[in-house]
């Protein structure tokens, strides 16, 4: 078994005439929290999306747990997102019509788990993240921090192998952001979840075990890490 749960090898990705990634390579160890930093427009979010199987790279390879991800079809990549990955994005991306509890249970329902079991598995997460009183509130009735905690619960409820977080505190104030990051990191460590965290905020990056910098579509390592 490889020590790396997730790898990007010489990944290129363009959007029209814009080359977002120009041969980015990164390897993520099992259980580590990796911060991906870089200026705006550097390609860090695109790298995360390629690693998560949301986008297929134009060139290069993406590996997850010893298997190629970039060659998978849309259906298989969807399954991956449902079963093995979790996501926390800047604005939460909750389903507006569902309550907090519904949103947390959603991945389990999509995986065709029995309804009762899904909600039974989801409910403790609300309590764990301090949202037990907001279970029947919709996203419009939650504050930014509360919505992010719901998104975090949804991302972790199905015990994903990897958690992808793209600017998870970007829309939050400092204190709230810290609270969310504490919850994220603690929950991930408790569950043994690998975390890939995109941020431009050094204080958020400080929660990570390791940092890489993406600049001009390339991943640059820091002296304390070794990357293939």
């Amino acid at each position: 078994m490889s020590e790396y749960i997730l790898e990007a090898r010489d990944v290129h990705r363009a959007f029209g005439q814009t080359q977002a990634l120009r041969g980015a390579s990164v390897a993520v160890q099992r259980g580590e929290i990796l911060a991906v930093m870089g200026p705006s427009g550097s390609g860090k979010s695109t790298l995360l999306h390629c690693l998560a199987g949301i986008y297929a790279p134009n060139e290069g390879e993406v590996w997850f747990d010893g298997a190629r991800v970039d060659t998978l079809g849309e259906t298989k990549r969807t399954e991956l997102r449902r079963d093995a990955f979790g996501f926390v994005f800047q604005f939460g991306q909750l389903v507006p019509e569902l309550t907090a509890l519904d949103n947390v249970a959603l991945p389990l329902l999509l995986a065709k788990k029995p309804r009762r079991q899904a909600y039974a598995q989801a409910a403790p997460w609300l309590e764990r993240l301090g949202l037990e009183e907001h279970g029947d509130h919709r996203s419009g009735e939650l504050s930014g921090g509360q919505a992010q905690r719901v998104a975090l619960a949804r991302a972790l409820v199905h015990k994903p192998r990897v958690l992808f977080a793209d600017e998870p505190t970007g829309a939050l104030d400092t204190l709230t952001g810290e609270a969310v990051m504490n919850l994220l990191v603690n929950a991930a460590r408790e569950e043994g979840t690998t975390v890939v965290l995109v941020t431009h905020d050094a204080r958020v990056a400080a929660y990570a075990d390791r940092e890489i910098v993406v600049r001009d579509g390339r991943a640059l390592t820091t002296p304390s890490s070794a990357v293939a």
């Binding site: 969807t78 997102r81 507006p96 019509e97 949804r154």
Partner: protein, 798 residues
């Protein structure tokens, strides 16, 4: 996922409920309208499926034709028992199994047709009309409910006196085609009817279905109307389901992010559409039930239907309950096929290319095809080209709409300078299809309404216009048509009595037309057919009498008597009525060229029989009194056979206007039907505009709010919303109206040469203006939403 879909639809918060309610209401409006149209179609089908008892066959015997003597006309087939003079040989008839004698005639009351059947039973088991258990006995008559109401209220000398006997009952519904029908069945003795000309011997009641000349046009009109209605309904429902599309995209993107497959997304979307449509179907049925009593009163075919027949039936109700939700779910699946919801909430849908000039092709093809169609002689093959040409043109207008919208918006962007103009023009140019879609229904209605306004009034007015107009209210009766059916006309004594009675009625003028005595060697009394080439004697009119109806012509100074081509006055197509008729012996029906008659000899007209009588009065009630008097005291005995053989060449008494109205029945019926559909289309289109405008505002709540927060006056936003709808509405409506007008002009000029198009410009302008203003009003009505939605206190974006 079905359960998830139900959850999102029914318990998705206030916005989801609003979306559900709006979609359901849009579907409900469409279902109510479709059920109403289907109900009327069912009722119409009931009419066409009605037993045509009037079509009961006359008994004929084989081999009745005798070989003619040289130079003589052949004796034509005669119904069994009918003697050469037209009366019935009762003994022979009974022996041949004849059970009943019938004599049909057509009467009128104030322009409304009245069907009259005089009947005499020959046997105890004589056939009865559908729903009746007995044949009226001599001295009895049965009337339709509508006629019964008239008889109870109208003075007897205007109507009731025409009918001998007393009312014994009412004609049941099974024998009528409309609750408004005026019909009467009068019992007689066999001897009485046997001597009346055109009495027919009947052995059995026909069970065939009724087929009228208007059947095809109504069937087409219903089909055309349904298609014309479906377009705005589909647009309205589609617009309603697209409400809050951005919100829905957000939802689907979030679901895709956490692993929902496209199939699961489609299932959720289908459930949402299905639920909205199902609820809408139920509401639509309830809506129809609420207005069904009014629907039953709708007159689209010239008469109302029996209320019990105006129903969609179990099939209709089940159809909407099953098909509408199923179609909605199918439509959702189809529409999502092209959209791949990206987990990052960026839908990968190709930006539509701008419409090209090729969008004008169907419209131009349709008009060209229509030109070809109107030049094909009237036939089934002409119809096979005409109808597709009309449909293609109408669809071509809708298809070209986005292209017109795009060019108008580009023009606006170039010449307009303000922020509102720029914003509106940019949005229109970006997606002209979407903006045009909201007003497509109105442009369809404008097209149909303009085409109808151009063609049908022309057709109807042409028959009583110009020189024919003064004859519209003049009664005409033909007492003798000469030849083998010659009855000799009214005798001098009968004429004197009738004229004295008529001229005693205030305001009545009469023009008797007399037949000359020059029979050219043959007499109707000879009981033999006239020789080949024989022409009847000339007819004459007093110049003094003729002044009462100046359209007949004028005499020379000092002239007292003039020949007159009276036969010309009894054409069944008023467009072929050539005037003047005085001074001629006969008129060529096709060319209108008259055979000039020799100068009338000096003679005593009062000694001659009267073949034709014209009666004029400016007062309708007086005219009916005159008609009643003539029916009773000087009836036309020529008869006209059964209604399926009737033509407007009937002997009378009918006014020239009534003759034209019988012929115009098809035009009037078509106009009524089409304007009914246009009205419904406009109603649905108006609802669609309301939904689309409101939905567009909801979708753009955020950018509009930001604009307002950053200082844009509300008036600017209002102008933007107004221009986005008003521009395509007005520009494409103009195109639509012009296309329809051109087609109407082509049709009139080709099909009615020499007739100018009678376009009701004033009425049309007012009607179209009302339609466009109403549509703009709906748009303006949505402005209150704009103010409310974009207030700064609501500027919190979740």
């Amino acid at each position: 996922m079905i359960r998830m879909g139900m959850r999102l639809t029914l318990r998705g918060g206030r916005e989801a409920v609003i979306r559900l309610v709006v979609t359901s209401l849009a579907v409900a409006v469409g279902v109510t309208v479709i059920l109403g149209v289907y109900s009327l179609f069912n009722a119409y089908q009931g009419t066409t499926n009605r037993q045509c008892w009037e079509c009961s066959p006359t008994v004929t015997a084989v081999g009745d034709v005798n070989a003619p003597a040289p130079g003589q006309r052949p004796v034509r087939d005669q119904p069994v028992g009918v003697k050469a003079g037209g009366s019935i040989d009762l003994a022979a008839a009974r022996q041949a199994g004849v059970k009943e004698l019938w004599n049909f005639s057509q009467d009128f009351y104030q322009g409304t047709e009245l069907r009259r059947l005089d009947v005499a039973a020959l046997t105890a088991d004589a056939p009865t009309l559908p729903g009746m258990t007995t044949v009226p006995a001599p001295g009895e008559y049965y009337v339709s409910p509508a006629l019964a109401r008239l008889l109870a209220t109208v003075p007897a000398n205007e109507l009731g006196d025409r009918f001998p006997g007393h009312q014994a009952g009412q004609i049941p519904r099974a024998a009528l085609y409309s609750p408004d029908e005026l019909a009467i069945v009068i019992g007689h003795t066999a001897d009485d009817l046997a001597t009346r000309p055109a009495t027919e011997p009947i052995t059995a009641m026909s069970t065939a279905k009724e087929v009228k000349g208007t059947t095809t046009i109504y069937r087409f009109a219903f089909a055309f109307g349904t298609v014309a209605l479906l377009l705005p309904i589909i647009i309205m429902v589609g617009t309603a389901t697209r409400l809050s599309a951005a919100r829905r995209e957000e939802r689907y993107a979030a679901m895709r992010l956490v692993g929902a497959t496209p199939r699961q997304i489609v299932t959720v979307a289908s459930v949402e559409s299905f639920v909205g449509a199902a609820l809408g179907s139920v509401l639509g049925i309830l809506g129809y039930l609420a207005v069904s009593a009014q629907v039953a009163k709708v007159n689209v075919t010239g008469t109302v239907f029996f209320p019990a027949e105006v129903t969609p039936g179990v099939l209709g109700y089940l159809g909407v309950l099953i098909l509408v939700p199923a179609l909605a779910a199918f439509a959702a699946v189809r529409s999502l096929r092209r959209v791949q919801y990206d987990p990052l909430a960026v839908t990968r849908k190709a930006t539509p290319k701008p419409p090209t000039v090729k969008r004008l092709i169907p419209l131009l093809l349709g008009v060209a095809l229509f030109v070809v169609a109107v030049n094909i002689p009237a036939s089934d093959s002409a119809d096979a080209v005409t109808y597709p040409a009309l449909v293609l043109t109408m669809w071509g207008v809708v298809f070209a709409g986005p292209w017109v919208t795009m060019w108008v918006s580009r023009l606006l962007a170039r010449i307009g300078g303000g922020a509102a103009t720029t914003l509106a023009a940019r949005r229109l140019a970006d997606d002209p299809r979407a903006t045009f879609r909201t007003v497509a229904g109105v442009t369809v209605a404008v097209f149909v309404g303009t085409a109808v306004a151009g063609v049908l009034p022309t057709a109807m007015v042409a028959s009583t216009s110009g020189e024919r107009a003064p004859l519209t209210g003049v009664l005409r009766l033909r007492y003798d048509v000469g030849g083998m059916d010659s009855q000799g006309g009214l005798s001098p004594a009968q004429t004197t009595t009738a004229l004295n009675a008529l001229r005693a009625m205030p305001g009545v003028s009469t023009v008797p037309i007399y037949i000359g005595t020059d029979t050219s060697g043959w007499s109707p009394d000879s009981n033999t057919p006239p020789p080949l080439g024989w022409t009847p004697p000339l007819e004459y009119v007093s110049c003094a009498d003729a002044k009462a109806v100046p359209a007949l012509g004028a005499c020379a100074p000092g002239q007292k008597i003039s020949a007159i081509a009276a036969d010309e006055l009894f054409v069944d197509n008023p467009l072929l009525l050539h005037l003047p008729v005085m001074g001629y012996g006969a008129m060529d029906r096709v060319t209108g060229v008259g055979q000039t008659a020799p100068a009338a000899p000096d003679m005593d007209l009062s000694a001659l029989n009267v073949t034709t009588l014209l009666v004029a009065s400016s007062d309708r009630a007086t005219l009916e009194r005159a008609r009643t008097y003539l029916d009773v005291n000087a009836p036309v005995l020529l008869g006209m056979g059964s209604p399926d053989q009737w033509s407007t060449n009937a002997a009378g008494p009918m006014t020239f206007g009534e003759v034209a109205s019988v012929r115009d029945e098809q035009y009037r019926a078509a106009q009524q039907m089409i304007m009914f559909v246009v009205g419904l289309t406009l109603f649905v289109a108006g609802c669609g505009i309301a939904v689309a405008t409101a939905g567009s505002l909801v979708e753009r709540k955020r950018p509009f709010t930001l604009l307002r927060l950053s200082g844009a006056p509300l008036a600017v936003l209002r102008r933007v919303v107004f221009l986005e709808s008003a521009l395509p509405l007005v520009s494409v409506s103009v195109l639509s109206g012009l296309a329809a007008y051109a087609m109407a002009l082509i049709a009139v000029r080709t099909l009615a040469k020499g007739v100018s198009m009678s376009f009701p410009l004033a009425t049309y302008s007012v009607s179209v203006s009302v339609v466009v203003v109403a549509a703009l009003g709906v748009i303006l009505g949505s402005m209150t939403l704009l103010n409310r939605m974009t207030r700064s206190e609501y500027a919190r974006f979740e």
